[in-house]
Amino acid sequence: MKTESRLEKVLASGQLAVTSEVGPPRGCNIDIVKEKANMIKDHVDGINITDNQTAMVRMSSIAAGVALKQMGLDPIIQMVSRDRNRLAMQADILGAYALGCNTMLCLSGDHPQFGDHPMAKPVYDIDSINMIKMVKDMRDEAKFQGGADITEPPKMFIGAAANPFADPFELRVMRLAKKVAAGVDFIQTQCIFNTAKFEEWMKQVVDRGLDEKVAILAGITPMKSLGMAKYMKSKVPGMDIPDEVIDRLAGVDKDKQAEEGIKMAIEQMQRLKECKGVKGFHIMAIEWEEKVPELVEGAGLSPRPKV
């Protein structure tokens, strides 16, 4: 084992892992984070806390993660390269690890243009791939990015994102290979709606043997309504939503769309459980955390293993 991460232990046990996520509040009420975490804690192996998602200021991922740790849960902190240079990143990683956070996700982050501070100076000192390498070198070589030794290095289990649906498609597996070469341990993919395209990507991942070097958790998002599906199709960058998803939601009464969305997500997980190389699921139930238990149970992934 490289770390004390519960996610690493579950993956090492050979069972499918389940993670989910909580968006921290745009204010100081930590109880909101705790309540959301309590809804899902018995059904997941780790809880991501997003880091200024969509470039909107929110409570710090690490602060909220520490609150979850104090509840005896397993936070997966997120860090975007948009907001910190390498000094700030490494300082926060030392602090997060010292306070019990042992699993993290390395991301570049949505551009500030999307958020509520478009006038901010974007940092982007290093990209997500060099962030992975930096965290790995901190852990395995006990070296800071600048080359100096670390006494008591942070032992982070290192995650990253992959979007099989962005362009150019032929680069999507090659870019994953770069993340693997940089030292990533697990991947949480972008929300999958075009399951066939995901399977095509996954086949290329397996053909290159990358699935043996990195644990891929398939990103699942249940659709709450037809409106949400249409919005995501037209407004969210890098999202691939086939017409059959829209048509299926449009085919049921408005008050039954949420139920249909849950059913679709469960069917998708059942299908992807059979997909070679998939080592688990990352459930992003956007402002719908209370549905995570139903999704996990419906997919036959409950109870979660004790490790």
Binding site: R82, S108, H111, Q113, I129, N130, D167, R175, A177, A181
Partner: protein
């Protein structure tokens, strides 16, 4: 070249409001090419200032001059006589030229343009950013397309997950630099290069190490070298 755009007239009028005799100075280099601060723009701006001042019942005298190059003290020396006759200067050069004039004359020097970026002309009347002057050119490994200047996140190992149909996540009007890089590598038969990890950038030559300076001892006069070493 360095691109610039003229500032709003009202801002310029605000700067010069306290003065009765001013000099508008253009530059015959980059700002002439991008039609922001050459001889023609000096004339247009000077006329606009005279007209506005007349309308407001304010007395002002505007002298005009365009230098061959405003970022070079030898050319800026030529302003000595004119500068001695005025209360203030409006410079239509880039920020380098404005500062050179300001460093040589003890009167207020105001910017008449906003200096924008190092860019190239895409077509008549359109200029686009191409270089950020990072001091350690990586075009040799990216197929001749710069990810520092042209990727919104300056990603060294792109494209990020926001690249769709060749466009950047920030706008459908912005090309994804990494799509361009990939297409170019394919065209050149250099796809294998893509998977080499590009290390985190050392930003010192890009300005992270403080204000930058080039000293070419073979070109600098012995007097300047002596001063620098002193």
């Amino acid at each position: 070249m360095i691109t610039a755009e003229q500032k709003p007239l009202q801002e310029i009028l605000g700067y010069i409001a306290p003065y009765e005799k001013i000099l508008v100075v253009g530059c015959n280099e980059c700002v002439t090419v991008c039609a922001a601060g050459g001889r023609k723009e000096v004339g247009l701006l000077s006329s606009a200032i005279r007209l506005n001042s007349a309308k407001a019942g304010k007395k002002i005298e505007v002298l005009e001059h365009t230098l061959e190059r405003q970022c070079d003290p030898e050319y800026v020396d030529q302003l000595a006589e004119l500068a001695g006759q005025v209360d203030a200067v409006v410079s239509l050069a880039c920020g380098c030229g404005i500062q050179t004039v300001a460093s040589q004359y003890p009167i207020p020097v105001f910017p008449g343009v906003n200096t924008k970026f190092m860019g190239a002309s895409e077509s008549q009347g359109i200029w686009a950013e191409r270089c950020m002057g990072c001091g350690d050119c990586m075009l040799g490994i990216t197929g001749g397309i710069c990810p520092i200047a042209r990727c919104s996140k300056s990603i060294m190992n792109g494209p990020c997950g926001g690249s769709v149909n060749g466009k950047c996540e920030i706008s459908p009007d912005v090309d994804c630099a990494w799509q361009l890089i990939w297409d170019r590598l394919v065209e050149l038969g250099l796809q294998d290069r893509y998977e080499e990890l590009v290390a985190a950038k050392d930003w010192r030559p890009a300005g992270g190490g403080g204000p930058r300076k080039i000293i070419r001892e073979d070109l600098a006069s012995s007097k300047i070298i002596t001063e620098d070493n002193a």
